[in-house]
Symmetry: C2
Subunit: 664 residues, 2 copies
């Protein structure tokens, strides 16, 4: 096992090393620690931030008087009021102890763990100022920091520097929502441009797809709905350039757009104009995609029924062959595709879809099927893993050197590496700092390849700039949310300053977590738990280990699934426990999921098979239940202290299995 924290960086008082790189951050310094090992530093910096803020207040108009006189603090009413505050805080602190110890190496449940001290202190320091990033007027500093961290993420992904744009959101759902909102509006844009061009009597616009260039007015509806996203945005630019009054032209496009008209009027007009509105446009996601995509498709008016699930393979990655068959069917039916979503780090398995393969299919589909779509990557979970592919100068690292960092573990696999580096070819990506960025909630993010696309969701007339103010002056006009905490931007900024988004920064943290997951997988695979039998999913792409558990006395898969549920109950805080305020914590925490036959299809058949149940039994039971362990802790496999948590977990698991069988 390699030791992530034992690298000795050069003495910082010495000149930089020959490579010109600064020394790496000691991972021991990054978190508060399960024992509060870094509490003294944290407390010092916390007080520094607080006092610094107080002294700032006193230095803004020092001539002003005092709102609360010292003598008034002795009054019964003041004393009473402070007592209420203190007592309330003590109540809260008591309540909070009923929470989940995410900080502990023993917590291997969800994607929650100890957080970077940098982000916690940065959040608190900024919260005292309470900037609102809806508009720069109320957040002259933190709006800049937000755009800076979004730029960090876009650069890590590799979108073209001149075109990319991104911002923070409250979380991954809103980020994915925005991406599909943009995708929907870009999909229907060519129609709006055509109608606007007709209204403005602008002729001679051509549109280029894989099939060649044509006059815009001669394209069929199907062709209009299959222009590549970039071409659609170029087309808008060409229309605006061909008119004298750009603003009037932009307003005409907005008026003729699906967003402006609404689906009902837009559909009616499509029918009138083209004779046939074609079947409703679909969104393709792997069957492992987060449930919120259905929520999003319903909210956006596209319809939950238009969400098409693409089967996954036995590594729980979207199956490119299945995707191709679906695309062929859709093309044959002339059913448009708004977006294909690849998932980079599935919620249940941390599987990484082959983004590179999907991009290959995108090219091929354009050429062979005349299909075009927006390619969105839901990397809410895994986005920060892209850091392993960047060197300190921001250059892309090759597979071998990326792999060499994690030796002797073979991580990332070449498939994962290829998927990571292919994200730069896509149109948008969701990356949540509050997941693999080790940053407190709320901090999601969305990045777009082409900043022009945000004009399509802006409520202002597109391309109209305001009295010379920079276009970032009013973020709320380009995004779904309005008011939002500048403190979140500062938290992410602090973390990115301390841990850069490259192999020497976040890459080391995420590599160590993923190596820990592989070590856990190996430990469980090698363990003799007889008479119990573990059926593990394949080694994870990132940091989640899932396994089902069987026993000879459990004759059906349903019984086996119920047994797994009992194991989960023994290895989590139950809601019943917390309702009575009596906290009985298990020694280790895991979560549970069910690989449902309806969604997973054949992908989970081998998991059931290794338990001795055939596909029929799997389908009859509705799926197979698995325990799910997320390894965030970069030290899990390193045995830095007196407890070997891998062995400890294996021992606890055995105890819990024995107990659960007895009480079943």
């Amino acid at each position: 096992m390699s030791e992530p924290a034992d690298e000795s960086p050069p003495d910082p008082t010495l000149p930089p090393t020959e490579s010109g790189l600064s020394p790496s951050i000691d991972l021991r310094s990054v978190f508060l620690g399960p024992k509060g090992e870094n509490a003294a530093v944290f407390e010092r910096l916390l007080l520094e931030a607080f006092r610094d803020h107080v002294f700032w207040r006193r230095n803004v108009h020092p001539e002003d008087g005092f709102r609360v006189q010292e003598v008034e603090k002795r009054s019964p009413s003041y004393q009473y009021s402070i007592s209420v505050l203190e007592q309330t805080l003590l109540s809260l602190l008591g309540e909070l102890k009923g929470g989940v110890p995410f900080f502990s190496p023993r917590y291997i449940g969800h994607m929650t763990s100890d957080l970077t001290m940098a982000s916690l202190i940065g959040y608190f320091a900024t919260m005292l100022y309470n900037p609102n990033n809806v508009a720069v007027e109320g957040s002259p500093v933190t709006t800049r920091l937000e755009l800076e961290v979004a730029e960090d993420l876009g650069a890590m992904v590799g979108y073209p520097a001149a075109d990319r744009w991104g911002h923070l959101t409250s979380g991954g759902t809103v980020a994915n929502f925005e991406a599909l909102w943009v995708a929907r509006n870009v999909k229907y844009l060519p129609i709006a441009v055509r109608w606007a061009a007709e209204e403005l009597q602008v002729g001679g616009l051509t549109a280029t797809s894989a099939a060649g260039s044509k006059d815009l007015g001669t394209l069929s509806l199907w062709e209009l709905l299959n222009l590549p996203p970039r071409e659609s945005l170029d087309l808008l630019d060409r229309l605006l350039a061909a008119t004298e009054d750009r603003q009037a032209a932009a307003e005409a496009v907005s008026r003729h757009s699906a967003s402006g008209m609404g689906y009902q009027s837009f559909g009616y007009r499509l029918h009138q104009h083209f004779g046939d509105a074609l079947p409703p446009a679909v969104v393709l996601v792997p069957s492992t995609a987060h449930y919120s995509f259905e929520k999003i498709c319903r909210a956006l008016g596209m319809g939950g029924n238009q969400l098409v699930h693409v089967p996954v393979d036995e590594n729980f990655r979207m199956d490119p062959a299945a995707l191709w068959r679906i695309l062929q069917d859709l093309a044959q039916r002339q059913q448009p595709v708004v977006a294909v979503v690849s998932v980079l780090g599935t919620t249940e398995e941390s599987a990484v879809d082959r983004v590179d393969r999907v991009e290959e299919l995108r090219t091929r589909a354009g050429e062979e099927l005349g299909l075009a779509w927006h390619h969105h990557v839901d990397a809410a979970w895994g986005g920060y893993a892209l850091s392993v592919t960047r060197d300190a100068a921001g250059r892309r690292r090759g597979f071998q050197s990326t792999l060499a960092d994690q030796a002797p573990e073979a991580w990332p696999s070449e498939s994962v590496y290829r998927a990571l580096v292919a994200v730069e070819q896509t149109d948008s990506v969701t990356i949540d700092p509050h997941k693999f960025g080790f940053i407190p909630y709320p901090a999601g993010a969305v990045c777009f390849r082409d900043r022009r696309s945000r004009e399509l969701v802006s409520v202002e007339a597109p391309y109209v700039f305001h009295s010379g103010a920079p276009d970032s002056a009013h973020l709320g006009r380009f995004i779904l949310e309005g008011s939002k905490p500048g403190a979140a931007a500062a938290a992410v900024w602090m973390a990115h300053q301390v841990l850069p988004l490259d192999a020497r920064g976040y890459g080391r943290l995420i590599g160590a977590s993923s190596r820990g997951a592989l070590a856990l997988h190996r430990r469980l695979a090698a363990g003799d738990f007889s008479p119990f039998h573990l059926s593990l999913l394949p080694p994870p792409d990132l940091n989640i280990v899932c396994f089902a558990v069987g026993h000879p006395s459990l004759g059906t898969l349903s019984e086996t699934n119920q047994f797994v549920h009992r194991l989960y109950q023994a290895l989590s805080l139950s809601t019943e426990t917390t309702a009575t305020h009596r906290v009985e914590r298990p020694d280790y925490f895991v979560t549970k999921t069910v690989l449902r036959a309806e969604e997973y299809g054949g992908a989970a058949v081998p998991v059931a098979a290794r338990l001795g149940f055939d596909e029929a039994a799997y389908r009859e039971a509705g799926g197979v239940a698995v325990l799910r362990c997320t390894v965030m802790d970069p030290f899990l496999a390193a045995s830095r202290d007196r407890v070997d948590y891998l062995e400890g977990f294996a021992a606890t698991l055995r105890q819990v299995m024995v107990a659960a069988l007895a009480t079943g």
Copy 2:
């Protein structure tokens, strides 16, 4: 001027007063204070919260070892890393000083101010635990707190206790989004129920509107789209009760719903089934409504063009007569109304729409026009003002006793009072704790009258409960957002504990702020600024004072508007200043808005007229620019210290006007 902080509550060591009420909180104890007057208390409680958390960590498995050994902290790598963290924090602290001093009595710009210490400390204490309120599994404590504070808000509003439901959001935009999302889905629900009943061969369902009861199968499309929201939800219940398999029936309804089918297929089927899909459904908002409603209508697929702006009167409240005329027109065209939105505290003027009048029109429209709709109140800004209408036992207080609290100021006006108490008749309301709740971002909230409506946005089959878990176990399934900070719930909870949502708690704070705004209005109205001339908007419903400024040398309204813009620049942090990192703060901070003729119509004509410009000039200039002052500070008018901020602002305003005229 009454003195909000001089009430002396009884000695808390004595038994409660005869009325059984606890003493009131001393408002001097609520905030950190412009000089950090309460810094010592804040720091003590901050440290208490931090250390309490650290000791909690040490008490979870004390037998575990240490991740960071003391001796390792002496290593160069650790020392280097902590130096980076500290240096980065110092950089951030330096940057933050370029921010806006919201805490100062001199800041009367946006709805931002000093925050309650209770919420700041509660946020920080909880952030260390980092609970995620997406599901109770990761937030056993804070999900409970979230539902508790939503219940506080619902009780303050007065929705029926047995039916109401609410939750926190990242902000007002998402809250309004959810309300209209629900409204849209409830609007189309009767059609889905009818199609599901046909599929399931369930007959005999009747639907009741103002026109009487009819068999569901005989209703016209127009009638189906004009059932009252409650009746639509009852209808669903009746269908489910009439079937043996509730889950299958719920799934059938979902399959036939507009959300499930998507607008395109749904519209096509409406056309096939009813011969005519009717004109697209609209959303009515006052012309003062927040710009995000357009964003929301576009995103939801209803279309920005379907957002209908209702003119406002000279108090900037939605004009009931104009609303009625629009409703008559819509009824005549058979154009359905998804929702009417009343605004309780407009962003620009803090105007309070006559919610009571809109409710009267709702009844009348049902009876006379056969129209029904969802009534949503956007009280993002003003929601906490409802606290003045509640006594400590939660009972509704009469107008006279509500008024008596604020004597000698005549606040609230009877119109405002009637609007506040009428919110209980509506279907949903947005209330942002991070606005008039004095709580840090992010904390929005939405409350619904009828908890059943959330099933219509749930991605699970409706009415299916999971293995006995309470329905609150997985909030993320019922709302737009997924992961969200439990810390925000704790912050709101702390504040509500210290300041209850009644006249003795938040009511006193909000009353004092509003009285301050009235005092500012009076001071500006009475002031002699000649040769400058102030044209004030009417006394505010809540806490915003707006005024235009004229001068004899400014011959056109456009010139006058430009002059007001220069005043604004002199009374705010300009983005140019902050870009160069050189902070030159004005002595007072205000904001600016333009009452645009396109939106405000005749409502702003008197403002221009008082400057000497007629309606033609107003329309030619495109509107009238005003300075906008938001009073959050409960002490503004109380002259508690050596500075009289009202006089100070008047003096600064004069200086700035003279200087701006000279440089214009």
